[in-house]
Amino acid sequence: MTVEKSNLQRILEAGHFSVTAEIGPPMSADAEFVRKKAREMAGIIDAANVTDNQTAIVRMSSIAASYLISQEGIEPVVQMTCRDRNRIAIQSDLLGAYALGLRNLLCLSGDHQSFGNHPQSKNVYDIDSIQLLKALRRMKEEQVFISGKPTKKPAEFFLGATANPFADPEELQFIRLHKKIEAGAQFIQTQAIYDVEKFASWMEKVRKAGLHKKAYMLAGILVNKSLKSLEMTKKVAGMRVPDGLVDRMRKASSQEEEGVNIALELISEIKKIEGVSGIHIMAVGWESIVPTIVERAGFLPRPKL
């Protein structure tokens, strides 16, 4: 049986440089909010990640919001974290997502609930993101659930995982990347890159291990609207923001314009690095800037496959 591949998978397999972005669902049941964001990006990007209660703040579910944006002509990448659901709920939700026509899935551990707006909650972590990837790969290959019980129509997602080229210890993080790809990740989205030199040396290791041939490496770019936003980004664990960029932002006459310039410069450097298959633009809370970035980076028009 042939599986209908997602747009993102087809674009990557055809050797095109993919452009994806992120859409953060609202802290409400407002469908129009999601639809509007999607309409702003339709035709501009190949797919949009829809976050799963990012930073453990309660928002509209990733699957529901993904379905809404798919109706507006944007292909979603559903996100699924291991924080809130046990293996029963995860598999059930993903069968539902697949039945709704959603085809891309990014598997994550999920930000710890202590960062969010319900720090009193109990976390789940029944399985971890690598176990989730492996389970979904097995579901595709062997048509079984985690328990080994069969399913007649499995969810056959184009599977993704995340990697942080800047997190330490480097060696252990790299082993983890290996494991994610071995477990079933077909594409890897990286943490936001500001330090291109460091990222380039990480990619060199990726190439040496041949991992870029086993999974598409999509480089993460965060667009900062202000000095404050850049400074906050710098404080996040596992982020590496060179001081020079902060200085540039501080001295800029228009911080918004400088934020865009920085993102465009990073994109132009990163896309030259061998083994990078796409760019993932994260402009959460400033999604309206994505079309400008994509256009000015020379990524338009997007391939139609």
Binding site: C82, R83, R87, S109, G110, D111, H112, S114, F115, N123, Y125, D126, I127, D128, S129, I130, Q131, K134, A135, I146, T162, A163, N164, A167, D168, P169, E171, L172, Q173, I175, R176, H178, K179, E182, A183, Q191, A237, G238
Partner: protein, 224 residues
């Protein structure tokens, strides 16, 4: 050991309001070692409660008993007389001890004097840290003797999340990243290759998820 922490005095006093003959049951094992509910802590609490009683003109009488362990019924028999003479019992044993006291002394109200925290070790003078969650199926052989279930904030089985930074957990810089510790240990032992193995989803039935647990050792059972 089981590590516990004494409840705030206000909470204890509120729960004991209206009682005049109080028995405080310390416990001679874990909570003694972690200085939460041993005889020393119980005696101190007893004098505070009597003093507070005096302030309010209530003739509070507190008797302290210290069974060797509250989790073994034979030691509870030793203190039965003092318990029977009281109106209420404040147990400073762990959650198991408190419940076992209540089972043994059916007619008595047994109240908790401590919050039971975890299975841990004395990390430093006056500092205890969690080491084990009693998940029922030990995988320490795969992880260099450092437990990912208890010591990774997300109980990740296959490596650290992206929030590990400088060897610390993203949720609190005073917490070591469990996976950094696993990595350090396996590196020291020259067994880093262990980390390439994908650890499969855990069968949580061995943990609390299989319902309240019971361990039976057949050979020591008399009427088994």
């Amino acid at each position: 050991m089981i590590v516990a922490e004494q409840k705030p005095l206000e909470e204890i006093m509120k729960s004991l309001e209206g009682f005049e003959r109080i028995a405080i049951a310390a416990c001679g094992t874990c909570v003694t070692v972690c200085m939460a509910g041993g005889e020393k802590e119980a005696l101190k609490l007893a004098s505070i409660l009597e003093l507070k009683g005096k302030e309010k003109n209530v003739p509070v009488k507190v008797k302290v008993v210290t069974p060797k362990r509250q989790c073994d019924v034979e030691f509870l028999d030793d203190v039965a007389e003092d318990i029977q003479d009281s109106d209420v019992v404040l147990s400073m044993g762990c959650g198991a001890g408190i419940q076992f006291m209540a089972e043994r002394f059916r007619g008595k109200l047994v109240l908790p004097g401590v919050n039971t925290k975890f299975i841990g070790v004395a990390r430093d003078v006056g500092v205890w840290t969690e080491m084990c969650q009693g998940c029922g199926e030990c995988i320490l052989e795969k992880t260099g003797g450092v437990c990912p279930v208890a010591r990774c904030s997300k109980s990740n089985f296959n490596g650290p999340c992206g929030g590990s930074s400088g060897g610390k957990c993203e949720i609190d810089p005073s917490i070591d990243c469990g996976w950094q510790l696993i990595y350090n240990r396996l590196k020291e032992l020259g067994r880093l290759e262990k980390l390439y193995e994908i650890i499969e989803p855990k069968d949580w039935r061995s943990s609390r998820d299989g319902g309240p647990r019971r361990v039976e050792k057949k050979e020591v059972r008399i009427d088994a």
